[in-house]
């Protein structure tokens, strides 16, 4: 390996260190066909459940219409968002994400009352202290990072301004109290949920 700081190629090497998108993954066993089939089935049945809730008519004609529609949408979504080639379908997410949702709701409610107190405070301009903070998360997958970013945005007092795929967060916080808890417990919970 050349010395990155010498010669013309140095800049490229530096950029490469910084921008490496393709992380090294652990070599996994080749994907079985069943994982793909499971992905398709889960998509179809979750869409069909939504259809049943929306429709509310359980006669044969409307069920057939629903099945045909959901089949079409599933095929379309396979073109748009192909199932992951290198990982089995994450069944544990299906069970653990609702639990995380409940925990998050409680956090949101707690944080909301603090911001509500700030807004109704007569000397609000002295209380608030907006700032931008940066940190690096240890989460790696796109799904986990997206859930993390949206959780930060949902928790009042903090907004995710930008995220990239390497986990660099730029967060706008409305006061010091909201900012100090990051990344903290939430990241740990998400890491547990996604199994990272």
């Amino acid at each position: 390996m050349h010395n990155p700081d010498s010669g013309q190629g140095g800049v490229i090497f530096k950029v490469f260190d910084d921008v490496s998108v393709e992380r090294r993954r652990q070599p996994r066993p080749p994907r079985p066909k069943t994982a793909r089939a499971a992905s398709v089935l889960v998509r179809f049945f979750s869409l069909f459940a939504v259809w049943l809730v929306l429709s509310g008519m359980f006669d044969a004609f409307h069920m057939t219409l629903g099945a045909v529609s959901c089949l079409g949408v599933t095929l379309f979504s396979l073109r748009l968002l192909p199932p992951r080639a290198d990982a089995p379908f994450p069944f544990r997410l299906v069970f653990r994400l609702p639990l995380y949702g409940l925990w998050l709701t409680w956090e949101i409610v707690k944080a909301n009352f603090w911001v509500l107190y700030l807004v109704f405070h007569p000397r609000m301009m002295e209380k608030i202290n907006p700032r931008l903070i940066t940190f690096k998360s240890r989460l790696t997958s796109r799904g986990a990072l997206t859930v993390f970013a949206n959780s930060i945005t949902l928790t009042p007092g903090t907004i995710t301004v930008s995220v990239n795929e390497r986990g660099h967060f730029l967060v706008h916080a409305i006061d010091g109290k909201s900012a100090e808890g990051l990344p903290g417990e939430m990241e740990q919970k998400i890491a547990d949920t996604f199994g990272e």
Binding site: V21, R43, L47, S55, A149, E165
Partner: protein, 277 residues
């Protein structure tokens, strides 16, 4: 100029108000529609067409001609947008195509387009005014698109029972395509629904509507009289009308969706359906 515009707006408002005062009072039992027309529709729609929502019955069956030409108007609007806005490629004008090496971020400019497959290549084609895709927006939108499409199909299929129908469902379907365009880029939309396919789909929607009406002639009914299909479906006349309304709604939805996607692609990319918003 500004004052003139203000004056025009106020004048138009006064004229509207003056005209509106001449209308029959809302729910006036003595006005002509309330005496003859409304009771006929309200009482007739369920036994005659098996459609509880009589707005859909009026739209799809009683006034089928009106809706057919409305669909044709939507199609014509899309075609006129195409003819007015579409920028033809000029000969002799060199175009530059940009390709970005994903691992390093180095951008190459080429004078000729290269065919790359998105899955295997480490290059991606980017726009001239490229901004990095936002990860959160992209993931969430691609997650939502199938659900929006299912909702749109539900709106189309259940126009008989709830507010909805071809126009609304078509708009929601088009919105799902626009969401793909917003979260990825215009070329993804173009690969999912090419310009040619979109215009053909829009035409097919109008043809489906008109063809349903025309076919009724061969079964011995009037034009757009879906009751004539009763023998074909093996059902009673009202049920056949209900089926006919559903088929017609699907035609309307196809036209509206394809037209709106075409207009979005043209407007957001300055007429070249290459790169845009």
């Amino acid at each position: 100029m500004k004052r003139l515009a203000l004056f025009t707006v106020i004048l138009a408002g006064v004229l509207f108000a003056a005209t509106a005062s001449e209308f029959p009072r809302l729910g006036d039992p003595d006005s002509a529609p309330s005496r003859h027309l409304s009771p006929a529709y309200i009482q007739g729609s369920l036994p005659q067409t098996h459609t509880p929502n009589f707005v859909t019955a009026v739209l799809g069956d009683y006034r089928g001609f009106d809706t057919m030409f409305e669909t044709a108007v939507v199609f014509l609007a899309g075609m006129s947008c195409f003819f007015i806005l579409r920028a033809l490629r000029r000969r002799g004008l060199t175009e530059v195509y940009y390709y970005r090496h994903k691992p390093t971020g180095v951008v190459l400019a080429m004078l000729a387009p290269r065919r790359i497959s998105p899955r295997t290549s480490c290059f991606e084609r980017i726009d001239a005014d490229w901004t990095p895709q936002d990860m959160v927006v992209e993931t969430m939108c691609l997650f939502m698109v199938p659900f929006i499409q299912v909702f749109a199909l539900y709106v189309i299929a259940h126009g008989h029972y709830s507010p909805g129908g071809g126009f609304q469902g078509g708009v929601l379907l088009a919105a799902s395509f626009i969401l793909v365009g917003l979260s990825r880029d215009l070329r993804t939309v173009e690969s999912l629904l090419t310009e040619k396919t979109a215009i053909l789909t829009a035409a097919a929607g109008v043809c489906l509507y008109a063809g349903t009406g025309l076919l009724a002639l061969f079964f011995g009914g009037n034009f757009l009289d879906y009751g004539a299909y009763a023998s074909f479906f093996g059902a009673a006349v009202p049920a056949a009308r209900s089926m006919g309304i559903l088929i017609v709604e699907i035609g309307v939805a196809l036209t509206v969706m394809a037209t709106l996607v075409t207009i979005y692609k043209l407007v957001s990319s300055r007429g070249t359906v290459e790169e845009g918003l």
